[in-house]
């Protein structure tokens, strides 16, 4: 069963350059651990949300609106993902607990739909 771990970041914290955020080294160590366990099934890291571009076609219109930055109202953004292939949600929870992205922040587990 494939699960994605969505590493959620907080816009405010990112802007402040919060010192408590986990280091790149911690993420690399975790990545190595996931590889070594033989459960790695993909994933990616993302650049900062302030480099985002949003494209949206409002209801009832045909033209797309292109704006700079993420959706202004949302406090959270996806900073990166790990995709892991493990038997059950309990395994996924155990891996999310170990993920540096959970520290002082949030990792959201979602099951990957197999269409």
């Amino acid at each position: 069963m494939k699960y994605v771990l969505l590493l959620m970041g907080d816009v405010e914290k990112a802007r402040c350059g919060d010192e408590s955020l986990p280091s790149v080294e911690e993420f690399m160590a975790y990545d190595a651990e996931v590889e070594a366990a033989g459960i790695a099934a993909g994933g990616f890291a993302l650049h900062d949300p302030d480099t985002a571009v949003s494209v949206s076609i409002p209801a009832g219109e045909t033209d797309a609106v292109v704006t700079t930055g993420p959706y202004a109202e949302s406090r959270e953004y996806v900073g990166g993902t790990f995709i892991i292939d493990v038997p059950t949600i309990d395994d996924a929870i155990a891996w999310a607990k170990k993920c540096p992205g959970a520290k002082d922040s949030r990792v959201e587990i979602r099951a990957i739909a197999d269409y």
């Binding site: 699960y3 059950t88 949600i89 197999d114 269409y115």
Partner: protein
């Protein structure tokens, strides 16, 4: 064979019995096999229908449950084959299935109910979903019955169960006993869910009495099931003891007018002696099983408290020193305002009502108790005992304001009348 064919009526009766007694076993095996509670329900239903069509012609098989299980498994595989999106899942499942042709002897039908208890109480499911799932799948109640038990509409209960089943299937909540390091963490949720089913039934009155009585009985049955599956766990034994001892007092809890009777005023000859005897033995076993373990669990302690009450043949023979000590202990392992309220009452009985009132008044600022009618009722009783009827009446009126239950309010009116005070009916909110 032909002359011994059962009539359709005999088949219907046998199926009703199987549905009542064995549907949790059937559903548990199917749920574990396919990891999908919706599918388990659907194919169990298919199997009952197939039996209704087949058994009048073939006779009732030697092992009806095994027949139903084999049929349900085949139906499940048929359904999965029809569903193209499920082909991968099928590949995982079918290999094992093909190695097992023919009906399974009854003795080989696995008992997967404990596994299913843990599934239903997975920490990612909400408490109200957990109790609904337990009643539906391990209690064998229909969705309509579960809805009635919790006084919610059938569509609401259906939506709740559907959401929970979807989560189990989509996120793959395992139908398995957790690894040893997680059992201790997860068993309390199972016991708590069963306990809340019991209290849901216990706290009721009036028109709902009938259904609710079934709920307390169901909770005891579920607790006994868990104990049969995990006999050595002290908390499991403690839960059964607590429920059985509480149930033993049920016949004395309500008077002829349907009003509650306080523990002090209960006719103890009406307590059920069979349940008392069983509960006292179980409470002792639970304490014994806890043995060397450093901290007693909340159910062992509550069972001990219930056992102390059960052993008192008269209210004034109650060993309040022991009860107060047990509430001290309970407040350490499972602190709550309600525990502290009960502790204060026990101290009043042990050290005198002045001391009891001091303990109660120390709790008066606790937000959870400020609008909790038993707290004000306890103060009222204490003030009556201290010979302060005016203050007691005031406390009774506050208690009445804190409950919407017509039965509780009627009880308070009765207490006030007995003490020559006015009725509370006029102060209804």
């Amino acid at each position: 064979m032909a002359e011994s064919l059962p009539g359709r009526r005999a088949v219907v009766e046998e199926l009703a019995r199987l549905q009542r007694d064995d549907s949790p076993r059937l559903l548990a095996v199917l749920a574990r096999r396919f990891g999908d509670l919706d599918l388990a329900e659907d194919v169990a239903q298919d199997a009952y229908e197939a039996a209704l069509a087949t058994w009048p012609r073939t006779g009732i098989p030697d092992s009806p449950l095994a027949w139903l299980l084999t049929t349900a498994r085949r139906k499940a595989l048929d359904r999965l084959r029809r569903d193209a999106a499920q082909t991968r899942r099928l590949a995982e499942l079918a290999v094992e299935e093909d190695r097992r042709p023919g009906p399974t002897p009854l003795s080989e039908i696995p008992d997967d109910r404990l596994e299913l208890f843990f599934t239903c109480c997975h920490p990612t499911l909400r408490p109200e979903e957990q109790v609904a799932l337990i009643l539906r799948f391990l209690g064998g109640l229909t969705t309509v019955e579960v809805a009635a038990a919790f006084l919610v509409s059938v569509p609401t209960m259906q939506a709740r169960l559907t959401r929970a089943k979807k989560r189990i299937r989509i996120t793959r909540i395992p139908v398995a006993v957790p690894p040893p390091d997680l059992v201790a963490e997860r068993l309390p949720a199972v016991l708590h869910a069963i306990y809340s089913i019991y209290t849901e039934g216990y706290a009721t009155t009036g028109a709902e009495v009938h259904i609710r009585t079934e709920l307390t009985g169901e909770a005891i049955r579920l607790a006994r099931t868990v104990r049969a599956l995990v006999p050595a766990d002290p908390e499991v034994s403690g839960l059964v003891a607590l429920l059985v001892l509480t149930e033993a007092r049920a016949p004395a809890r309500v008077d002829g007018e349907g009003l509650p009777v306080s523990l002090e005023d209960q006719d103890r000859t009406r307590w059920r002696s069979d349940l008392l005897a069983e509960g006292i033995v179980l409470a002792e076993q639970a304490a014994h099983q806890a043995g060397e373990s450093a901290a007693l669990g909340p159910f062992v302690i509550q069972a001990s408290i219930a056992a102390v009450h059960a052993e008192a043949t008269r209210f004034d023979l109650t060993d309040w020193a022991q009860i107060a000590a047990l509430y001290d202990l309970l407040d350490l392992v499972a602190p709550s305002p309600i525990v502290r309220l009960n502790r204060a009452v026990a101290i009043g009985r042990r050290d005198g009502f002045e001391a009891g009132l001091r303990e109660l008044d120390r709790l008066a600022a606790t937000p959870e108790l400020a609008r909790h009618h038993p707290f004000h009722a306890a103060r009222a009783v204490t003030l009556e005992e201290l010979g302060r009827p005016a203050d007691a009446a005031l406390a009774w009126r506050t208690a009445a304001e804190c409950t919407d239950s017509p039965v509780e309010r009627a009880y308070i009116s009765k207490r006030l009348r007995e003490h020559g005070r006015d009725d509370v009916a006029d102060s209804a909110p």
